[in-house]
């Protein structure tokens, strides 16, 4: 059993990303750079959702809520102290002097998202299937309502804007590498194999002593952490965070990426994220020029439904493609 091959592939992927980033920074214009950054953020979202959904069959539609938590907290922490009274006059006193540089702010945002995920997980993770999915939608809406109404902290529907554009291609690439590396290592570890087994057959996993509840909670928290980071990056890319951007539509779009790429396949999520971000960028001008708003989403949903009917395992199925795995075989618990 050659363990080396997947590790090789991962190393190559990481190298490629670094080289790509350097090239892009030096050659491409700002517009292309922002598209690449969006792509990177989508990759983070897809891969982290894949961890939660794909490995454990757990259906969480609350990902944008974790993005929002991470995004808002990062924004509040990086907000310059002078600006705060102007934008947020009613901010609670203890929050005003708190100010962190970008990287720690991101981490705090991600950790907060993960903590909320643990709380959510404790409450709802005993539910199954679509009941769990609906509970996560409920969670998303609750978060949206709070963001829209806790004016003193979030500025309500206006959101926070005028954020410093810290995000650049190096930050994005760095975090993409971290996300892929960690999710990859988890998948190919013994913990990862136990997660796969949960997805395949719950009763068997139970019999083997795999603690379903904690495994699922872990998956949710890790996924939420990266979503939170992605939220922070996103906010500082477009220099604003608003409640409406973190909606069920975004949830749906990330799900489409994961399903089309193949739930369980990291390569699949990466590929699908790239394809969809690019497709989205093509649709946007089309929609604006011809006034045909909504066409992009219609096409996305159509593709999703067709894939679900005719090729439900997505592009790469539940695993990495052959050229990545080589002769590596996951242990089966049959």
């Amino acid at each position: 059993m050659k363990i080396n091959r997947p590790l090789y592939s991962l190393a190559i992927m990481i190298l490629f990303l670094i080289v790509f980033a350097i090239l892009m920074k030096n050659m491409a214009n700002d517009y292309i750079l922002s598209i690449v950054s969006f792509t990177g953020i989508n990759i983070m979202l897809a891969v982290s959702l894949n961890l939660t959904n794909g490995f454990t069959g757990l259906f969480s539609l609350g990902h944008p809520a974790f993005m929002a938590i991470g995004g808002y907290i990062t924004a509040l922490l990086t907000f310059s102290i002078e600006k705060k009274p102007l934008f947020l006059p009613d901010l609670p006193q203890w929050m005003v002097p708190v100010h962190l540089p970008f990287f720690p702010a991101l981490l705090v945002g991600g950790c907060c998202a993960a903590c909320v995920a643990l709380i959510l997980g404790m409450s709802v993770l005993r539910l199954k299937g679509h009941y769990l999915a609906v509970a996560t939608i409920g969670f998303l809406i609750i978060v949206q309502v709070f963001l829209n109404n806790a004016d003193s902290i979030t500025r309500g529907p206006l959101g926070l804007n005028g954020l410093t554009d810290f995000t650049n291609i190096y930050w994005v690439t760095g975090w993409v590498i971290v996300t892929i590396y960690i999710c990859w290592k988890i998948k190919f570890s013994s913990l990862g194999r136990s997660m796969l087994s949960v997805r395949e057959d719950e009763m068997a996993a139970n019999a083997l002593g795999v603690n379903l509840f904690y495994t699922r909670n872990f998956a949710l928290a890790v996924g939420a952490f990266f979503a939170g980071i992605a939220g922070g990056l996103w906010g500082h890319l477009i220099t604003a965070v608003t409640p409406n951007s973190f909606s069920l539509i975004m949830s749906f779009n990330i799900v489409v990426m994961v399903v089309v790429g193949g739930t369980g396949s990291i390569t699949g999520s990466i590929t699908a994220a790239i394809i969809f971000t690019l497709a989205y960028e093509c649709f946007k001008p089309l929609e604006e020029n011809f006034g045909i708003y909504g066409v992009g989403e219609i096409v996305m949903s159509l593709i999703l439904i067709l894939i679900l009917i005719f090729r439900p395992s997505g592009m790469f199925g539940a695993d990495e493609p052959a050229f990545v795995l080589g002769k590596y075989k996951h242990h089966n618990f049959n």
Binding site: G57, F59, S123, V124, L125, R126, L127, K128, G129, H130, Y131, A133, V134, A135, I137, G138, F139, I141, I142, V145, F146, N148, N149, E202, L212, F213, R216, L248, I249, F252, V255, V256, V259, I292, Y293, G294, V295, E297, I298, M300, S301, L302, L304, I305, L308, I309, P312
Partner: protein, 298 residues
């Protein structure tokens, strides 16, 4: 807190509850028979509302005819959705059906945005509907009375259909055990289609009511009411029609009382309240109040 105010809130709750109940019935019926959540159900409400608008303003048809057309349109949409997105999913894992259903809903919403633009439209019922009536210190409009009475009539008709007719028996048998139902010679394709048609017809009428009650419609209007009606169905116990009716009224009353009795600063939190209730019910009472299905849990 005077009695008049309370009475007014109760009346408002009754009206809102009637609409939630109608939509929740459709959810429960569909879930009961195919064990899948139909996300697009809320969007059928939207289609019902827009159809009403088109028929009344553009074609200027009399109201009873419009209502029948809307009912029919709802049925047709339900059948279309069943054929194109639920039947191919039969046998697939639950979550696959769930995402597909979500996809259909988003497709319909965006189709609405594409063809009708996201701008809200004004909805106007004939003038006599707006006449005010009084019940002691509380007041309501004719349209409210029409909504309530129509809802009751539809619910009673439906209960009769389900409990006393052959089709109703077939629907209940198929919902309980689809394989044995086939062994009895029941054509499950037709039975499932009929369920979707009836449930969706009710949703279409609810759209007509919604437009009449709130006066404004837009392509995304179906999403939140649809989801809230799902909450109502869960409260009552998914799969149970009396449960859906009960849940619809409970939700209607709770939502109105939440807004009416708490200080105004909290009223925009009502959606959070509704979905918080959903999560709590799913955790502590997953079968709802009247439901019998056993859902397996971890």
């Amino acid at each position: 807190m005077d009695l008049g105010y309370l009475l007014q809130q109760l009346i408002n709750g009754l009206i809102l509850g009637s609409m939630y109940a109608l939509v929740a019935i459709g959810f429960s019926m569909i879930y009961g028979i195919v064990k899948l959540i139909n996300f697009a159900h809320g969007d059928i409400v939207m289609i019902g509302a827009f159809t009403t608008l088109a028929l009344m303003e553009t074609a200027g048809l009399p109201f009873p005819l419009v209502a029948s057309c809307v009912l029919f349109t709802g049925c047709a949409m339900g059948i279309l959705i069943e054929r194109t997105s639920f039947r191919p999913m039969r046998g697939a894992p639950q979550v696959t059906g769930f995402i597909a259903s979500l996809g259909v809903s988003i497709m319909i919403q965006n189709f609405g945005i594409l063809t009708l633009s996201a701008q809200p439209r004004n909805f106007s019922f004939p003038d006599y509907m707006q006449t005010m009536l009084n019940l002691g210190p509380a007041s309501f409009r004719v349209v409210d009375l029409v909504i309530f009475l129509t809802a009751i009539v539809l619910m009673v008709t439906l209960m009769f259909l389900v409990k006393k007719t052959k089709l109703g028996m077939a629907m209940r048998a198929t919902a309980e055990n689809i394989d044995v139902a086939r062994m009895m010679g029941i054509n499950i394709n037709k039975t499932i289609m009929a369920t979707f048609a009836i449930g969706s017809g009710l949703a279409g009428i609810a759209g007509l009511m919604w437009g009449g009650k709130f006066g404004q419609i837009d392509p995304l209007m179906g999403f939140v009411p649809g989801l809230k009606s799902f909450v109502a169905a869960v409260i009552g116990g998914v799969g149970s029609i009396p449960g859906a009716i009960l849940g619809g009224f409970i939700l209607g009353f709770s939502e109105v009382l939440f807004v009416g009795l708490l200080p105004p600063i909290y009223s925009s939190y009502r959606d959070a309240f509704v979905f918080g209730t959903l999560i709590i019910i799913l955790i502590i009472l997953p079968n709802g109040l009247l439901g019998k299905d056993m859902e397996d849990r971890v």
